[in-house]
């Protein structure tokens, strides 16, 4: 007597799930091979499933109306004591029977306990048995497969450099999960990836950007981060990774969650909950504080200063390299460095070469400032603010970086003091932080120029007659035409652009 379990097969080409529409048998019923046991509905059609076993139905493992993934055990059938004459093939059918429980165990192991996670966790449990197994278990899921949930452990010491190199990644599509480890308690199973990781550490350099790893599309993250993601119901593949080897860090996960929650909170109730508006359908928000000041300043600027806006596309690849080197350098340890820093430095540098952009229109006079109070537009809880960095022209690159960081932190915390926003001479607005390419900024009142910094992303770029991917950004600038005419604004923007293209020019 053997208990055979039938797993939901892929009855189409690449189907991943199906709904049990109706059971045609009940527990205790006698079935022969090819007797119809149930009707399932897939994304393609309603299909009758014939029994692969003869015997007595022991249990229906899935209720009607439930949608399950391919590979899920749906029925168990107890072998007849002696093969019924109706199904002579059944005796040979029984032979592979003992193998089937292994598959079943595989599918039954709760996937969340498995260390290591695939990019699409949904498919994880649908992979009970590796295809090229010599055992005659059913093919079951024949469509696209998720990776095995766990890597096979390697022998402790790579015998030759050649093999250890290959060791870096588990082979693509390689089935794993030997039966021996399946029964291991989760704690013990957790050790497996650690072993793999230390394995990788032994091979400096070679494995960091393992192409095979990228092929199998595994999101890198440390086990606690994986667990946290699972607990929060977040797919790690959705989280922007910033770790040094491309892994998702705890911080990444937390900020992703914060952002997601913020979006969810507002979005869910926005259309549906008019009660909080006091019965009306229009929400009235009093204009005051920063919003009021911003509005007044913008109107004043837009309707008194004739704006001229110009744009330039810049290959910022060298800026990106420079930023990367700065991040790695000991001098800048612990300091946040971003392309905005280079832009700020470039604007200061270019203003010295084109002084009229750093000025004020005073009706019958133009006041050119021989100092730079560099404004940085910042989104804050209270609205848009433009605090400025005083005497920015005197700051070294490192000091400027510190100043920008402090300014941004203070602004985000909503603690910017009025004094910090006064006396600006030229403003930079980093609209690229939100992924925007460019825009036409409005000049901060009292100033005559503003530079908008678009997002930096890889784009096709023609270099020496060849199209290659480069880090491209768009600079936008608005100028008060009463002070800065087209020629001057163009030269100023070209100067800023030249620094982003070649930051080494800052050394002259």
């Amino acid at each position: 007597m053997t208990l055979n379990t039938f797993e939901l097969p892929d009855v189409g080409e690449g189907l991943t799930e199906a709904e049990i529409v109706q059971w045609k048998v009940a527990a205790g019923a006698t079935v022969a091979v090819n007797d119809v046991i149930c009707e399932i509905e897939t994304a393609k059609s309603i299909v009758e499933l014939p029994s692969p076993f003869a015997g007595t139905v022991a249990e229906l493992l899935v209720a009607e109306g439930v949608t399950i993934e391919v590979g899920t055990p749906i029925i168990s059938v107890e072998d007849a004591v002696s093969g019924s004459p109706e199904t002579p093939g059944d005796s040979s059918d029984g032979a592979p029977g003992p193998e089937l429980p292994a598959d079943e165990a595989d599918g039954a192991v709760p996937v969340p306990d498995m260390p290591g996670e695939v990019a699409t966790p949904a498919g994880g449990s649908a992979e009970p048995a590796p295809e090229p197994e010599p055992t005659p278990g059913p093919l079951v899921g024949t469509g696209p497969k998720a990776d095995a949930v766990k890597r096979r452990p390697r022998k402790a010491q790579g015998p030759s450099p050649r093999t250890s190199e290959q060791q870096a990644g588990s082979p693509v599509g390689r089935p794993s999960t030997p039966p021996a480890t399946i029964d291991a308690p989760p704690a013990q199973a957790d050790l497996a990836p650690t072993a793999v990781r230390s394995d990788q550490v032994q091979k400096p350099g070679a494995s960091l950007l393992d192409p095979i790893n990228q092929l199998i599309n595994r999101v890198l993250a440390k086990p606690p981060v994986r667990k946290a993601a699972r607990d929060l119901g977040i797919d790690l593949a959705d989280v922007p990774a910033t770790g040094s080897t491309g892994e998702v860090t705890k911080q990444d996960l937390l900020s992703y969650q914060a952002q997601r929650d913020a979006e969810k909170d507002g979005a869910d109730s926005f259309w549906k909950d008019p009660t909080r508006l006091g019965g009306g359908r229009v929400e009235r928000i009093p204009v005051k504080g920063v919003r009021k000041a911003t509005a007044r300043a913008m109107v004043q600027s837009a309707f008194t200063a004739p704006h001229v806006s110009i744009f330039v596309d810049v290959d910022a690849s060298r800026t990106m390299e420079f930023v990367k080197r700065l991040k790695a350098s000991r001098d800048f340890e612990g300091i946040k460095v971003s392309p905005l820093l280079i832009l700020a430095k470039a604007v200061i540098w270019a203003a010295a070469r084109n002084p009229s952009v750093n000025a004020t229109w005073a009706e019958d006079e133009i006041h050119v400032k021989h100092f730079m109070n560099l404004g940085i537009a910042a989104a804050t809880p209270r609205g848009l603010m433009v605090p400025n960095i005083k005497e920015a022209q005197n700051l070294s690159l490192k000091e400027l970086a510190l100043a920008i960081n402090e300014l941004a932190t203070t602004a985000r915390a909503g603690k910017t003091q009025p004094a910090q926003m006064q006396g600006g001479t030229l403003t930079v607005t980093n609209i690229g932080a939100l992924g925007i390419d460019t825009g036409t900024p409005i000049i901060n009142p009292g100033e005559v120029a503003i530079v908008a910094f678009g997002t930096i992303k890889q784009k096709p770029w023609v270099l020496d007659g060849e199209v290659i991917p480069r880090w491209i950004t768009t600079l936008g600038g608005s100028f008060d035409h009463r002070v800065v005419d087209g020629d001057l604004s163009a030269r100023f923007m070209a100067d800023v652009a030249s620094i982003l293209e070649e930051p080494a020019l800052l050394l002259d």
Binding site: F6, V11, K44, G89, E133, L139, V140, R154
Partner: protein, 404 residues
Amino acid sequence: MSGSRLPTAEFEAEDMVRSAQIAEAGLVPEPEMLQVLAPDGVLSANLSAEVAGSVVDFSPYLSSTDPAHLRSLYRDMFLLRRFDQESTALQRQGQLALWVPLTGQEGAQIGSGRALEQQDYAFPTYREHGVALTRGVELTEILRLFRGVTNGGWDPREKNFHLYTLVLAAQSLHAVGYAMGMQRDQLSDPALPPAATIAYFGDGASSEGDVHESMVFAASFDAPVVFFCQNNQWAISVPSTVQTRVPLARRAEGYGFPGVRVDGNDVLAVEAVTRWALEHARSGRGPVLIEAYTYRMSAHTTADDPTKYRLTQDEQEWRPRDPLLRLETHLRSQGLADETFFEGLTQEARTLAADLRAGVLAMTGPDLADRFAMVYAEPHPLVQEELQLFRDYEAGFADEGTRD
């Protein structure tokens, strides 16, 4: 579920245009459909028709008077249907990745397959299980392909039965090329027996450019090839009325060779017409197109659901025209086969199904290391090195693994 998501408006517009076209097409006269065994089991004595302007008598090619032969044709069709059912069940049980059923087309396949001589060479689609049976291909070998454990399944040269071609209509070009090769072999060695190829395809594939190209070449070179089109009325979900404005058999006129429409559910007529066509081709008189008019009683493949695009009523209309049914009626009414014969056949089919199931369950996946032997005909140093690399890698796992 998915039906409600279809952009029905578009389909309706298309249908209106199409029905207008079909009404027009109705003016084209339907060609005579050759038949000796009527759906009611009544057998005509002889068979003749006008083909390409002259009257052809197919009677010499009929083997309808030999009871043993009739029984063997029935046996083939009966076992074939059981094979089809068991394979469908195996797919539903997760043992095959896909299955391509042929129920309804047994007459066209067994009839044409049995007409082939040893030296003839058949080029199948992926549905020619009946032809495979007549060529002596092990039926489990076919299932190896559908289980995904082999790229082919059998040695085509042993049985003169080419590997299944999954690319629609590609095999019609292969068949013409092979036929032209046979032509040249004959010229260099007149002692070789005259031979022909037969290219199987469906009404859907007839819309492919490959079929046109192969027919142009075959006509130009008088290649010894028979184009055997099983018009089963459905190119997956597209009815053949959308595939062609004239009966498919009449397309041959345009290429300049004879075209015949035969009742594909009449195994005897199919056999006779195919014998005639093969002889026509072997004797150097060029290609022939046979349109075997039949019906696909089940789905296109196990991944298809015909209830989404055709009415059960259409299937019901074809049911009385079943190829097995009419031959059984004939055998019984004429006293050519008794109950023992039919019972024995049922038992034989049961054994076949059981063996088939056991065979499939015992199939093992190919060893990845074997792949290295399939790169070059002879050992190659680089491939050998890569094989060693692979073995080292496989040996580097700490656990037992599932394979050596």
